[in-house]
């Protein structure tokens, strides 16, 4: 049997065997065929590009706009390879009725998955249009070219695409290879095209799921338990009546529904006051975070282990780093609208994965997935798995009790803060040896962490399913090795070290609800590795930038390190004015995505033991750049968000309840902490594969700040957040 036939006949088996589930959930990995990117999942050209009878062209993607600018970037790619004006295209994003199943919009994979699929599809559609024109003109395709939405012959005759639609069949399987435009000819890709979603967002247009208003729509609020696992013992349901609200109860799932939003809120508060809950949660002792994390039972997985002859060690250093639970902290709490009609249930949600979330909701409701249509509608930025999927499940469950009526669920601030799945607490321990010449000869590293992906999938991952009468249990998480990694993401340094041993101490028990937060384990692992690299550089008496370069063979990595140092104006030795410190850090995200180096200057307030980032300069190589301004925007955001996480952020709880429930109990970066200047230098690599970059700055920014603080204050801060 040929390989292709085998794959075709047993595709599902091969997919599930070849891909650890966690990888599949994060949208990474290869598909079941040899087609590039997400074409492997949806090989028909018209899954990606459709041309209307009037010549209008629509691009389809299974990825979702999360504020990262993906709509614009994908349109740029399509416009470039189709040779049409950017403004002439429209795009349809994640919708189970209309787009391919591309899993989750996560892991900085959208260009690698959807961008590659659309680029190939667009190039092949263009070739088909040229073939149509060649037939029409009786000319060889080689004698034709395309420009601005038309095929042009050698003698200048121009046939607009609209005139070539008749007989054009795009419902054909894509070929594995495409003929692409030479990057030197690019007119749209690699240009800073203005984002298509911004005009509505700055003018009060309907831009978010929160803005969706359907005829007869009612407003729902969920009354959440006071702690994990609490069950509803009693509630005075009549308390909702004065506000004209109905009560929906399913086991310990309790919600109110009212025609007006403010009435729903007041009814929710009334039920909160009368509800009695049996609480059973036993949360870890947060005052001793490292002990709490290290005390959980671990399943060990060796991530990397190699050994080679090396000079003897002259000096050994070791350190332990910790990171608290942290929130996604979307400014807009999660929201969803669901509408149960005779022909099925439609849900609008800012989920990162319409297909997997639909699967989970279908299981919760006992409905066939085909009876549910899930449509992505933008929400507030999510930065990973926040309350979106849960809010969608809330809306779906309530809507099934109110057939014919659209139901809008809006979470309250305290619900988002307390119930979203947090970025997991983590501990890392590292020990390394330097030889007599100051080179690293041995590196031993361990990372203790929960899973970083408890996304749907199974119904038990949804709060409404857990709290409902059927009480679905959260699925037990297993350790698995994957190309992207979860808690172990970026746990292997990119540096050349002859003896290296890296272990992921996977913690299956999750006393606190956790899941994917932007960059997953990479944030903590890069923070740890790159902080420790500075400690080693200091021990070796070396400049931090030179120390990194002396251990880095990867040419693109070296370019990025040197570009960031140059852009920052890194002085040899790294000395800063008194009270200030310069810090540097570098990583290649997942060790196979974008390269990013960050240098920062901090001012250290010794009296308050507080750092402020004054300026940052970063360099990034994300392969072929699609939208340089979009990439800059992502990197600027990554640096500021990581600064906020690193300096300020930790979830607080007592032994039973989450206690950080708003922005005063969980402070984040405000304008008074924003740097004076942030510069991003892009190292474009025309024609090179797209490298995911939306998350590549989180780890380097954190470590650069720690390193700058150490140089400004003499204090090595190893526990995130630095505010204590």
């Amino acid at each position: 049997m040929k390989r292709r036939e085998f794959l075709a006949r047993s595709g599902a088996l091969v997919v599930s065997f070849a891909l650890p589930r966690a990888t599949a959930q994060e949208g990474g990995g290869a598909g079941s065929s040899n087609l590039p990117g997400s074409l492997a999942k949806a090989p028909a050209l018209d899954a990606w590009i459709r041309v209307g009878a009037n010549g209008s062209i629509t691009v389809f993607t299974g990825k979702a706009e999360l504020g990262q600018g993906i709509k614009t970037a994908l349109l740029q790619i399509a416009a470039e390879e189709l040779d049409v004006a950017f403004a002439a295209l429209t795009i349809v994003t994640a919708d189970t009725a209309r787009t391919a199943n591309e899993g989750y919009t996560a892991g900085s994979n959208s260009l690698k998955d959807s961008g590659v699929a659309i680029r190939n599809a667009a190039a092949q559609v263009r070739a088909l249009l040229v073939a149509q024109a060649a037939k029409r003109l009786g000319a060889g395709a080689d004698s034709l070219h395309t420009a601005d939405g038309a095929v042009v012959s050698g003698d200048g005759k121009r046939i607009p695409y609209a005139e070539l639609v008749d007989g054009l069949d795009l419902h054909v399987e894509a070929a594995p290879m495409s003929t692409f435009k030479d990057p030197k000819q690019y007119r749209v890709v690699s240009r800073p095209v203005a984002r298509v979603d911004i005009p509505a967002k700055v003018s009060g247009g309907a831009a978010y799921v929160q803005d969706l208003r359907l005829p007869g729509m009612v407003h729902a609020r969920v009354v959440r338990p006071p702690s994990y696992g609490a069950t509803l013992a009693a509630v005075d349901e009549a308390g909702a009546a004065p506000f004209g609200a109905k009560v929906v109860r399913d086991g310990s799932f309790l919600a109110v529904v009212a025609p007006r939003e403010w009435s729903a809120i007041k009814a929710m508060r009334a039920l909160e006051r009368s509800a009695r809950w049996d609480e059973r949660a036993r949360l870890p002792d947060i005052a001793h975070l490292a002990d709490a994390v290290l005390g959980l039972p671990a399943e060990d997985m060796v991530v990397e282990d190699h050994h080679a002859a090396a000079p003897g060690s002259a000096r050994t250093l070791e350190a332990t780093f910790t990171r608290h639970y942290q929130v996604h902290g979307s400014i807009g709490p999660s929201c969803a609208v669901a509408w149960m009609k005779d022909d099925g249930l439609t849900i609008w949600s800012h989920t990162q994965g319409v297909y997997p979330d639909r699967q989970a909701i279908a299981e919760m409701l006992g409905l066939p997935p085909a009876r549910i249509r899930m449509i992505h509608a933008e929400g507030s930025g999510c930065y990973g798995h926040n309350g979106a999927d849960d809010a969608a499940a809330d809306a779906a469950l309530i809507a099934t009790r109110l057939p014919g009526t659209p139901v809008r669920v809006q979470w309250m601030r305290e619900q988002e803060h307390a119930w979203e799945p947090f970025g997991p607490a983590m501990v890392t321990k590292v020990r390394a040896a330097l030889d007599g010449s100051g080179r690293i000869v041995d590196w031993d590293y361990g990372v203790w962490s929960n899973s970083h992906s408890t996304r749907p999938g199974p119904a038990g991952s949804l709060l409404a399913a857990q709290h409902g009468a059927k009480a679905f249990a959260p699925p037990r998480q297993k350790v698995s090795k994957s190309a992207d990694g979860l808690g172990d993401r970026n746990s292997v340094p990119l540096y050349s070290i002859p003896n290296l041993h890296v272990v992921h101490h996977f913690l299956p028990d999750m006393p606190v609800r956790v899941s994917a937060l932007r960059s997953l384990g990479a944030y903590m692992n890069v923070f740890s590795i790159e902080s420790f690299m500075d400690e080693l550089a200091a021990a070796a008496g070396a400049d931090p930038v030179e120390f990194r370069l002396s251990h880095l063979e990867d040419a693109r990595g070296r370019d990025v390190v040197q570009a960031a140092a140059r852009r920052f104006g890194w002085p040899r030795g790294g000395s800063a004015p008194a009270g200030h410190g310069y810090g540097f850090a570098f990583a290649r995200y997942k060790n196979h995505a974008a390269y990013c180096a960050v240098a920062v200057e901090v001012a250290w307030d010794a009296e308050r033991s507080r750092a402020r980032v004054l300026r940052a300069a970063a360099a990034v190589d994300s392969g072929q750049v699609v939208n340089p301004d979009g990439l800059r925007n992502q990197l600027e955001g990554a640096i500021l968000q990581s600064a906020s996480w690193t300096l300020f952020e930790k979830v607080s709880f007592d032994r039973q309840r989450i206690r950080s429930t708003d922005w005063s109990t969980y402070p984040i970066l405000r304008f008074d902490g924003v740097p004076e200047k942030v510069e991003i230098e892009i190292l474009d690599r025309p024609g090179a594969p797209y490298l995911g970059s939306g998350e590549c700055g989180q780890g380097p920014a954190a470590a650069a700040i720690a390193n700058a603080v150490a140089r400004a204050s003499g204090k090595r801060l190893r526990d995130i957040p630095f505010r204590g």
Partner: protein
Amino acid sequence: MAAFELNGRNVTVDAEPDTPLLYVLRDGLKLNAAKYGCGLGQCGACTVMVNGEAVFSCLTPVSMIEGKRVTTLEGLGTALAPGKLQQAFIDEQAAQCGYCIPGMMMRAAALLAKTPHPTDAQIREAMQPNLCRCGTHMRILRAVKRASE
């Protein structure tokens, strides 16, 4: 019932007197710009102008704005005909998810109404009540500056 001026026209709304202005704008008047973020006056996503001052609409009962002048982001222009501040945010591409941006813009509009040419320090100080989670702060600051020039 409450009557007030909204973006230059008189409106009368049927709402309980304790209803926060935010819900009157969004739920009653079907406006999108003012956003629910916290309901506590901690994030500024709901910021609008009342008589030229930036206020948290999530904390302002509609009974308190009787007869007053309310300006929301919709009052500054449209996507097709953006006002100066809106154009500045477009020119600087000052949004990622954009959810906080309407509140940011109304905070900035209130500043610029009083201080047409603010210093960088004045802009930062004025924007302090508003939170952005995407880390778009540098662009927001540049956009406010651009609008003042």
